[in-house]
Symmetry: C2
Subunit: 165 residues, 2 copies
DNA sequence: GGCATAATGTTATATTATAACGTAACCTAA
DNA sequence: TTAGGTTACGTTATAATATAACATTATGCC
């Protein structure tokens, strides 16, 4: 069974993230088995880096992480972008368009319709769990056939509102 | 009175665009007067380029348009980006995050909450006129204070569905 | 093993965006 | 009217993000 956090704003709450991480990685492995896809070591590495937190990371941040430790043969951008492409396509991570960044998905296999709350202050991002149907209904009523939707709401999270007075 | 197209999917319909263009430019001028802002010639030029169609354009496409005609002193990217920044801030154009592009706004002064339908085939983009309240309500119910929302729905427009069979 | 395919690695380059600093235009108030 | 503050524009250089093209290696299947 896939990891199923109780709260929509998990990134903004304390939780047992070790457990969260393990669950999400297991779910990813299972999903790839079922779909007969290869969760290769590169792909796993990149996913692990994103699972390390609920924070968004740029492709080059991930690249730097992979190259950390001063390894002799440093890998190049296309490797990261290809792993990201795979993970996005399978719904294991999402791309945050308004930040040119990537974040782990909390509903592995979630291939479209993700919605995010992005705090402009602490930069944390929460993935909402309830896809919005009314918007897609409106699109359909105009005869538009939806592939993919990007919903990214920027503002101040509850925590940062306190600090900001 | 600002230009007020009848249909939400104006970019996908035939209409008197000359008139549409004139109305949007007048509305922009009026809006800047009211707000005591300077719609300088650079800003007007950039807005004109975007008003020429309801299609999205990249900053460098706009730059190329400005430099068209082989003028001797070609202008550089920051000039375009600054004009775009002003026009976005005043709600005269919108940035399409998932395309790194800009498009004229059909509701001049519209400073946030725009929603778009983006056809992956013909690449036209329709700006919806009804902001979605339910999403913002959900954000608020989580204690999140919304600044700005990005809603970009990709798919196939009605026209392209016919052609694609 | 031989072959097809998928994934990775490598090099170079394209595309998008901004930092930093100087100049010109505009505004207001001695 | 002109000095001084402010806003906008111009220029140069470079940062940050992303992909094309092609070589190599790993994997699965017969
Ligand atoms: Zn967690
Ligand atoms: Zn998700
Ligand atoms: Zn028009
Ligand atoms: Zn608009």
């Amino acid at each position: 069974m896939p990891a199923k956090p109780k709260s929509a704003d998990i990134a903004f709450r304390k939780h047992d993230h070790r457990r969260c991480q393990r669950q999400l990685m297991s779910a990813a492995k299972r999903l790839c088995e079922v779909r007969q896809l290869r969760l290769t070591s590169r792909r796993r590495q990149v996913l692990e880096i994103l699972l390390a937190s609920h924070r968004p990371m740029g492709a080059y941040d991930i690249l730097a992480e992979l190259n950390r430790g001063g390894a002799v043969d440093r890998i190049a951008p296309p490797i990261v972008y290809r792993a990201l492409e795979f993970l996005v396509a399978e719904g294991l991570i999402h791309r945050i368009e308004s930040r040119n960044a990537f974040i782990c998905c909390i509903q592995p296999g979630h291939q479209n319709g993700a919605q995010f709350l992005i705090c402009r202050d602490c930069e944390r991002i929460a993935e909402l769990e309830n896809s919005d149907r009314s918007l897609l209904a409106e699109a359909n009523s105009l005869g538009f056939e939806v592939d993919h939707s990007v919903v990214e709401i920027t503002g101040l999270c509850a925590e940062c509102q306190k600090h900001a007075g």
